[in-house]
Symmetry: C2
Subunit: 227 residues, 2 copies
């Protein structure tokens, strides 16, 4: 941030969000079908230009809320993509974000009435721009975070059972986990509080409900939680 007289190039800047959620027991991302060129009719990540008076994360949160109606969920910056030529309309810098929203949130069409839908990460359609690359990277980061931290509950409602939490981890990581070891680790990590109530059993024995301890230390000298 040094040289240059007073005229320097300026670029369009977008905030695009990879919104993950568990829907029907599958890890999905919310995609928007583009209504206009370029890539008209193709699916793309929700996102939009950063307005002059909002922060980058603010823009990402705004997009998230426009497309899902949810706010105050987990969101973090992922990576910034800015290759010349990645947007045929002209040079565009895209600051990407990851968001985790609880199961059961419906995608809704934005103001521009574009179509929004959840897509399984295991079977993505062809995506506009370099969005496929962004989703791939986001998924890698999500798996990594789940192994080393405890963000998994961000994919669940406020109150959940350990069984649901384990299922969420298994879906995202794509592997089975040992029930006893899983419970021991999660409970020992101290990030959960018992709510003190139980589920009304649909089948089987009712389960204790837990919630996230908001006062929990975010990241201890992180030891991997799962092998």
């Amino acid at each position: 941030m040094s040289t240059s007289p007073s005229s320097f190039p300026r670029y369009a800047v977008t905030a695009d969000v990879v919104i993950f959620s568990l829907q029907e027991g599958i890890l999905k991302v919310l995609l928007i079908r583009r209504g206009r060129a370029p890539f008209a009719g193709k699916w793309a990540l929700p996102g939009g230009f950063v307005e002059p008076d909002e922060s980058l994360e603010g823009a990402a949160c705004r997009e998230l809320e426009e497309e899902t109606g949810v706010r105050d969920v987990y969101i973090e910056q992922l990576y910034t993509f800015g290759e010349p030529g990645r947007d045929p309309r002209g040079r565009t810098i895209t600051v990407s974000y990851i968001a985790l929203v609880p199961a059961g949130v419906a995608g809704r069409a934005g103001d521009d009435a574009a179509e929004a839908a959840w897509h399984s990460v295991a079977a993505l359609p062809e995506l506009a721009f370099d969005h496929r690359q962004i989703v791939d990277y986001a998924l890698q980061r999500l798996r990594y975070k789940l192994e080393y931290t405890s963000v998994g509950f961000e994919l669940l409602p406020d109150e959940f059972t350990l069984g649901q939490l384990q299922a969420a981890y298994e879906i995202v990581l794509g592997e089975r986990l040992d029930k006893r070891n899983f419970r021991r680790r999660i409970l020992e990590s101290g990030i959960l509080d018992e709510v003190g109530r139980k589920t009304e059993a649909a089948h089987g024995r009712p389960a204790l409900l837990y919630c996230y301890r908001h006062d929990a230390v975010k990241e201890v000298k992180a030891r991997r939680l799962f092998p």
Copy 2:
């Protein structure tokens, strides 16, 4: 990346680099003294506006080479800062990078003849813009990477002894490490090759020289290397 007709806001975009190096056995970052407003006379990270035909990382590498003369060193994207108001000249998006350069590289003044100098991270002067925040975050990330991966040798010349490598880790992490445990772990990780030569001992017994195995797997399912 969806709505907006055809006119959308555009912003200046810079690539700024936190260049780490070991100088005189101390972890330092290269800073540039600003010659013009805003923050004239203050120290700042090397960086500059991204040109229309270069990638973000390309811009970061260009700045790195302009200020140090080195190329082909370790560089990775750190975070993107874009709060409105962080640059008094107008809204600026800064994509920050971390670079690691071997000990002994001199900082050199850029084309604009601004002063460049290495500063200990332990005693930074007041920095321009929000660059202090960027350096703090970069240092956190560097320590984290050193604990979990093996990038430490990027701070050393092509050939180095295990003693030098351990010293580098100790300087960055700010703690003493056990010699036998350190050697065992580094060697077992398989990222080093013996060069097959020894140092000419200045004092004491000559040490075997090692170099980085360029074919080493970058990131195995990373287990922490140091406790």
